[in-house]
Amino acid sequence: MRHGAQIHPTGNPPRTLQDLRAAIDAITDNTAQALAAPPVLTGWGLLDAAMPTGGLARGAVHEWFAETGERPSSGGSPTPLAVLIHLARLAAPGADLSPAVVWIGRRCWPYPPLLARLGAGSLLHRSVFIDARDHAERIWAIDIALRCPGVAAVVGDAAGLSMAESRKLQLAAAGGRALGLIVKPVREIGEISAANTRWLVRSEPSQTGEPGWIVELLRCKGVRPMSEGVRRITVRWRHETGDVRLVPDTLDRPAEAARPPIRIRHAV
């Protein structure tokens, strides 16, 4: 336990696994975030339990990639808007004008009438749509929106984000209470960034009339890589409510082998 004596700040060696975990958390400052604001529960079963905060942490940045298995239609890869709308609604419940949801970048703008019908509190009155002229302005807008205490969720287009910028965004998010969801094109999936979690959304054929996707948690800070059964789930979009619900496993499961696996190349 000599190592323990060196790690722990007060000098008492940790006795149990709990103490050790608390010591590590004190160094890496994870609990401070968890206590600040309740996390956003995605409602997707085991994924919530697998993440250290029990859901998507507020005051942090989460990266999203989307891929359809086809060549993208017109310049740039698609954005997983259905999932993002669902998460934004969970992050900003209530019917008041604030907290607000900020959508930055034309690629991240959902179809507005859809926001008006979702669930109990309409997102439309609380949504602000921002169109920036270039990359620098977009990152600046995401930065100050993340810092604002009156904002519940920020959905931003962060294509071409450098490591330094992603660290700055993570710090900005830590200074506020917003759920940061940034979207990057799938060709940047190999780049290292300072985001809290990293997700990939792929479209999936479904037998019912509703669109379906496979959502996969690629990376989560502070957690060992999970098994496939836990980190990859199938979800469906419900037209009337705009929810993205987990599909029970017993239903349709198309053949996985037919799809080419994604190769992740890490930047060296």
Partner: protein, 482 residues
């Protein structure tokens, strides 16, 4: 043109223009009778809005302050302007009168103006004098008033009636009679009106008092090009302006800074706010980026900070522990329920002033079933609440393409289920096709074109929203579920 008011159940004419009066329209006449006097389409009828007219008259009085500082409003349609002392500035009374008439004509109003030693005389002459522009000196007052009818003296209807019975029609007839007989026959009011008109009694008016504009300015000792001095000055002016706003419980919606430059034209920078604010820190954060782009030229002589557009902003309770600007994670207005709105407003102001107001917008539902017109984007700096229309229940995609992309479709029947789709250089096999949902064009606008919308799933599992234009038989991709 006629102004119509509703009296009881009927609509009557409240006011009419000169041409209508010549054609025989009178006040109080039923509207249908009045309309029958003209051929259809020749008369324009507007609702009579006395309150709006009064407000407009007030604004006109504020505008007319360029001629004199003392102006009173005389309902419903006249202004009494005290020009004692002002004629020297305008180089003569006749020149002032000419300017007044020209000024009113330039803003589209016909005015009848008269200058006289007393207000009552001026009132009478402006209305009833035969010639247009009248300037009456003190000596000629009696003669100028004499030919006017007795109505010009602003008498009550009973007195006018009794004068008409006796046969007195003009003021000169009244002046010919002795004062005692007038008083005994018609009462004191008649004498008072005569005295007011002739200058033997003093008439007081209540001039309009406009609120002081919000303005703070500083003059430098000489022209300066030092940034630090100018920055410090603007910050101090912001603090003074916020004090002025706080004293009258208002917040600024627009702030302008005017820089007078030596040997160059003045420069103005302006910041717009989405919510009224009198927080000097916030105003400074909006003005500062613009300040850095100001071209100082040869030097700045004075700086003035104004708030031309303000709104009511009530005082509110601040927190017991004041915010410490050094700490980063503090939420400044933690206990205040309106706090979230304040900080959000500040965020929107910062974004809108840097990116441009049309790039920061909020969306509203519009009354249209055409998908691309079912919503409207409006800048956050002009919030105008519109009546909410209920959204449609039919399935809608998460993203709509800005322009519908043409597609080639292979289908079983020309308007039937789709088998293969080719768009934007991709071939798709269609796994499922749900529809049609028919959306007709807005025929009341004269548009044509019915669309049959289908939801199709391609072999990768992606859902597309496509439509067939029935008139032309062409297919388009309009949206996706991503």
């Amino acid at each position: 043109m006629l102004l119509a008011a509703t009296k009881g159940q009927r609509r009557v004419v409240a006011r009419c223009c000169r041409r209508a009066r010549e054609a025989g329209v009178r006040r109080g006449m039923p509207l249908s009778v009045a309309r029958a006097l003209f051929r259809p389409g020749a008369v324009r009828i507007e609702p009579y809005d006395p309150r709006g007219d009064a407000l407009a008259l007030r604004r006109l009085a504020a505008w007319a302050q360029r001629y004199s500082p003392t102006i009173a409003i005389d309902d419903p349609d006249s202004l009494l302007i005290d020009i004692s002392g002002c004629e020297r500035f305008f180089q003569g009374e006749d020149r002032l009168l000419a300017l007044v008439e020209e000024g009113f004509r330039a803003i589209g109003l016909t005015a009848r103006a008269a200058v006289a030693p007393t207000f009552a005389a001026a009132w009478s002459l402006a209305r009833y004098a035969p010639t247009r522009r009248i300037i009456v000196p003190q000596s000629a007052q009696r003669e100028a008033l004499s030919p006017l009818p007795v109505r010009a003296l602003r008498l009550s209807p009973e007195i006018l009636q009794s004068l008409a019975e006796v046969g007195i029609e003009r003021v000169e007839d009244l002046l010919a009679l002795s004062r005692r007989s007038l008083a005994s026959r018609f009462g004191e009011e008649l004498l008072l009106r005569l005295d007011l008109a002739l200058g033997q009694a003093i008439e007081t008016i209540h001039p309009l008092r406009l609120p002081e504009p919000f303005r703070a300015e500083r003059l430098f000792d000489g022209p300066t090009t030092q940034w630090e001095a100018i920055e410090l000055t603007v910050r101090e002016l912001a603090r003074l302006l916020c004090h002025q706003l706080a004293a009258r419980e208002r917040g600024a919606r627009r702030v302008e800074a005017l820089f007078l430059r030596i040997d160059a034209t003045p420069i103005t920078i302006a910041a717009r706010l989405s919510r009224p604010s009198r927080d000097e820190r916030h105003l400074w954060s909006l003005l500062r980026p613009m300040l850095e782009r100001v071209n100082l030229g040869f030097g700045i002589e004075s700086v003035a900070l104004m708030a031309p557009h303000t709104a009511r902003l009530c005082h509110e309770q601040r927190d017991i522990c004041m915010r410490d600007p050094g700490v980063q994670n503090e939420t400044p207005h933690a206990g205040n329920p309106h706090a979230g709105d304040h900080v959000l407003g500040e965020l929107l102001d910062t974004l809108a002033n840097r990116l441009g107001p049309d790039r920061v917008s909020a969306a509203q539902l519009a009354e249209s079933h055409i998908p691309e017109r079912a919503f409207r984007l409006r800048t956050v700096l002009d919030p105008s609440p519109e009546p909410a229309s209920p959204p449609t229940d039919a399935p809608r995609p998460t993203t709509l393409l800005v322009n519908p992309t043409p597609a080639e479709v292979m289908a079983l029947t020309p308007d039937g289920p789709v088998m293969r789709l080719r768009w934007a250089g991709q071939d798709c096999d269609v796994l499922a096709c749900i529809g049609p949902e028919r959306i007709a064009s807005e025929w009341w606008r004269g548009e044509r074109g019915t669309r049959d919308y289908f939801r199709i799933q391609d072999q990768a599992g992606r859902w597309l929203w496509i439509y067939l234009e029935r008139e032309t038989g062409r297919w388009f991709v309009h949206g996706l579920w991503v």
